[in-house]
């Protein structure tokens, strides 16, 4: 992965927040993931196959997902199922949108959602993983990209 690849993912993520919430999100400086777990309360994981191989995940707090879900649906109360669903949909949309850069050989799986912050997500250890911190309002989420 190179800087251009990272920019595709940053642009896709920033665009997601702007379109969905009408508010800007900002990307922090990406860094190479070390042994520290980067897992918040809910994580949406997408497998990548085709021209590139690997996986991508988005991890977020429940509070942030709840806030976004309320904005999308225009309601005051959202259920836990909807919160879980949203983190998968964010991961799916960010991954799907980078096909504009990589083309249709960049195949994405349906999202798998993991709940709980106690453990890290297993990623291939022969490929470097990059962590992109994203700030929206006072919330922080992480996009982790692990691609051949």
């Amino acid at each position: 992965m190179n800087e251009t690849d990272l920019h595709f993912f940053i642009d896709s993520t920033v665009n997601y927040f702007e379109e969905v919430t009408n508010e800007k999100a900002t990307a922090g400086i990406p860094y190479i993931k070390d042994s520290e777990p980067v897992v918040l309360e809910y994580t949406g994981i997408i497998g990548i196959s085709g021209k590139r191989k690997g996986s991508i995940y988005v991890t977020s707090t429940e509070e942030m997902l709840r806030t976004i879900a309320k904005l999308i649906l225009g309601i005051e109360e959202v259920e836990r199922g909807e919160i879980k669903d949203l983190v998968g949909e964010i991961a799916n949309t960010i991954s799907g949108n980078v096909r504009q850069a990589y083309g249709s050989d960049f195949m994405i799986s349906v999202p798998v959602v993991v709940e709980g912050k106690a453990r890290d997500i297993k990623l291939p250890n022969n490929i470097q993983s990059f962590v992109i911190p994203i700030t929206w309002r006072d919330f922080k989420i992480f996009l982790v990209v692990c691609l051949e």
Partner: protein, 122 residues
Amino acid sequence: MKEKIKLMIVDDSVIIRQAIHKHLKEFNIEVVGNAEDGKVALEVFKKTRPDVVTLDITMPELDGLTVLEEMLKIDESVKVMVVTALSDKSTGLKAIKLGAKSFLPKPFTPEKLRSSFERLID
């Protein structure tokens, strides 16, 4: 009074299904079916025979493009709007070539959804 447009919403995300329903409420629609995967989508489609379908592509069981082809074999008059995160040009062209009447990339704003839907039912 004009007959309601029978709408079916197909997406594996419950948030997206709810958002589409909410944002299209101002049109004269009746949601006759929802589906969270491609296989269920075809079953519901056969039972409910909607006029219009919003259809995701990346779904469990059967992908949306296969579902699109099957729906059109059952009813060639159905108007299908593909709503997908696969926003590359070739996916859009493929969907249109297969018979979709409209292609809306995710993420979408309520305004973009409504204007695509308006053009679709026009």
